[in-house]
Subunit: 468 residues, 2 copies
């Protein structure tokens, strides 16, 4: 048929369908613009990405999230290999002794360190810490790379000179930018963190920063640090990343999701095309099923990730809602009319547009549509983000922009005391404002520009705002 | 030249070379047949696979071990995908509450559970356990697969019927057999564990069992359990594996390693062919280096993992020893004579055989040699293992075979009390004997056969011995 409309079955319909809806909790109770927090929790659970758990801050990642992560990891691992980084595996446990060796590190992490004090029913002679981050650094020019848990990556590289270290810090940062922009379709700004916001004890920290228009908050997407010579006495040590699946995927959900649920960029969608048979009662169901199977086969053979939903205990409408909730970029519907006309109906998740295309053109049309969706998501997100950027020059403009949830670009004197002062003056329920980063891509700073907060000569443009 | 001989530079030679040797600890202090335990520790450290660490039982896996593991993982992940298993990620922490829900499980694991009781300097309200194994099982027919840490895999599958569960238990077991035999070249026996040795609370446990001739001990290579309905009340739950890189790679080291260090089967060798220039003083070093680079390039292009050791501060002899220690299957030496004759010298790690081959035949010769080494290692290991198998019928034969460090195949009544009794009667410094497995591949059991230990009618042939 191809005329069922998106989610019609689940959202309208008779008593029977309503029951199905209730039972399976299909459909979103919250709207993105009304209650962003609840909306987010609902999306990640209803799309079957995560399951909450009885320890705060811990949750189970389900296959829909894991498969997205694996697609990112595949790219990242291949690029890391090109940089000749080598994999290391470090034990989960670390002694107090080793922790104490790195005092700078400990100061930053001490409040978070989890201590194992008992094994079974016996007390341990000495408590053992769960490794908060890599503390082990090899004193040689060997290149190090470490992966503790499946979802973590963290890199450390030792170099003979600071120049080499600087170069790799930026190479890694560029990989993160590509993951965000080319895979997750999330625009980010590359830049350098302020002295207050950098990794404690390190020399400097670079980051990619995303921005969530709905909440007006910046979010640090990933970091690449130059640790200087503080952690290993003999060499420069460079980059590190503790972010993983959760943060990256979370930013993507917030950026593209809508009131129907998740919206996945094609490059990271575990299923890019879901094919749904739409048989009327007296239709030739065997032929329709055959046409669906053929479409899935053809697409998989051409390298797309396509799947078929032939479950008989769910209506087509329910399935539309289900796969929209899970964010699958394209839906193909095949009904009797489509069969007769040797066509399929394709529906886009990002904008709901529908198009009937001849079966003969399936592969090229799907390719074109997926490419367009991938590009469109980044373009739209970038436009929304850019519309939030506000260039300000004075304290009054700053506070007004902050109240309007803007991503603020301001001339700054780059003094730590001034950043502390801004934090103090903007304290409140929503949290204080801080620097997000000083973007590498600097607009021209006119001669005589002054800092918006201190009135002293401005040294650079920096992004300011509230953040996660 | 190609006449330096293996390790000549490092082991003999003048004062200067001796210094290098001392400084870098090249060469093995222990022999496999004299002191197996020390030899093993020396091999895994000297080959740069692991680094010991200040917590007992924990160590750092270095790239040489990690890259082997990644080759195994690549195979396993692809096969797991074919079985349509889906990845899940579970938090590291688990509450006492959840642990208590699975009493059978807890009894088995309680002595090992690590408890976190402090976060930073504060006591936690309730202690949190470090997940000993997956306790979370989904009550549906959904297929589960979980990977906690990078090196761990653990599978759980829920099925509607025991028959389906049985089938998958064996499919997974077969994957482990293939990892051991086809990749690590370690012969294993597939079989079923006794009631005493099975996974506590499960229905039955299958395993692949390896045997280390030097110590006369069996070692459980991997397990695939049918957990029955004890863990999830509604469904059969099936298989699980907590073994990882360490165990598999450890068994491989013990099986193939020799007094020169590690011996790697080609399929898991991070470097399959190491190319070493052997320039005499007045040789055309540029041309030799060029020939070496060309060989590496050609081999890499053909899909082999080849690398070049051009370090100038090490002698060719030192390099021979170094790469022998690391177990690289083939060494290619190129000196002035080789250059003149358009040949290279290839030296096998497994048997030390040397052959000069025309450069034009490089790819096909390397392919043939690597295949031969892979097959030869398994064949040799199988012959050694098989030579240790002793079929016995009486208690006297049993104790004699045990003292001779044999892998004992005995007719058994399959009674738990009898296994307990055997354990009691064989207690001692070396540890008691126990069943390793009842092999699926059963020899004929003649009518009237009796159990070697109890004299009751024998039901099956089982492997017995001491184990790790």
């Amino acid at each position: 048929m191809s005329s069922g409309g998106k989610g019609g079955g689940a959202k309208g319909g008779g008593g029977k369908k309503k029951e199905v809806k209730k039972e399976t909790k299909l459909g979103m109770a919250y709207k993105k613009d009304d209650n962003f927090g609840e909306w987010y929790s609902e999306v990640v659970v209803n799309s079957e990405m995560i399951e909450y758990y009885d320890i705060s801050g811990c949750y189970i990642l389900r296959p829909w999230a894991m498969e997205i992560w694996e697609l990112l990891k595949e790219f990242f691992d291949a690029e890391i290999k090109k940089l000749k980084l080598k994999p290391y595996y470090f034990p989960l446990f670390v002694t107090e002794n080793v922790l104490q060796k790195e005092k700078d590190h400990i100061e930053g992490f001490a409040p978070e360190v989890a201590w194992v004090t008992k094994s079974g029913k016996s007390d341990l002679e000495a408590p053992i810490a769960i490794r908060p981050t890599t503390l082990w650094v090899k004193h040689s020019a060997t290149i190090l790379f470490r992966s503790r848990e499946f979802l973590w990556q963290e890199g450390h590289t030792a170099f003979a000179t600071k120049e080499e270290a600087d170069e790799e810090v930026l190479q890694i940062l560029e990989l993160y930018r590509r993951i965000y922009e080319e895979f997750l379709a999330v625009p980010v700004s590359k830049g350098r963190k302020s002295e207050m916001e950098k990794f404690a004890g390190g020399l400097y920290t670079t980051s990619v920063e995303a921005f969530i228009p709905n909440t007006g908050r910046g979010i640090q997407g990933a970091t690449s640090h130059c640790l200087g010579q503080n952690f290993a006495k003999m060499f420069d040590i460079t980059y590190e990343n503790e972010k993983g699946a959760r943060e990256m995927i979370g930013v993507m959900v917030m950026t593209h999701g809508d009131d129907k649920g998740l919206v996945l960029p094609p490059r990271v969608a575990p299923i890019q095309v879901i094919v749904i048979p739409v048989p009327y009662k007296d239709a030739d169901t065997t032929a329709i099923k055959g046409a669906c199977e053929s479409a899935v086969y053809t697409l998989n053979e051409s390298g797309f990730r396509a799947d078929l939903d032939t479950r008989e205990n769910y209506s087509p409408g329910w399935k539309y809602s289900h796969w929209e909730m899970k964010g699958v970029p394209l839906r193909i519907e095949i009904g009797p009319k489509d069969l007769a006309n040797k066509q399929v109906r394709i529906v886009r998740r990002d904008n709901g547009a529908k198009v009937d295309i001849p079966v003969a053109n399936l592969v090229e049309e799907v390719k074109a549509l997926l490419d367009e969706i991938q590009g469109n998501l980044l373009k739209t997100a970038k436009e929304k983000r850019d519309a939030c950027i506000e260039v300000i020059h004075t304290w009054d403009e700053f506070t007004a922009a902050l109240n309007n949830k803007r991503l603020i670009l301001a001339p700054w004197c780059d003094e730590e005391e001034v950043e502390k002062d801004v934090k103090n003056r903007t304290k409140g329920d929503l949290g204080a404002a801080k620097t997000l980063c000083t973007p590498f891509d600097q607009p021209e700073l006119p001669e005589g520009s002054v800092c918006f907060a201190s009135g002293k000569p401005a040294k650079k443009w920096s992004f300011w705002g509230r953040s996660y």
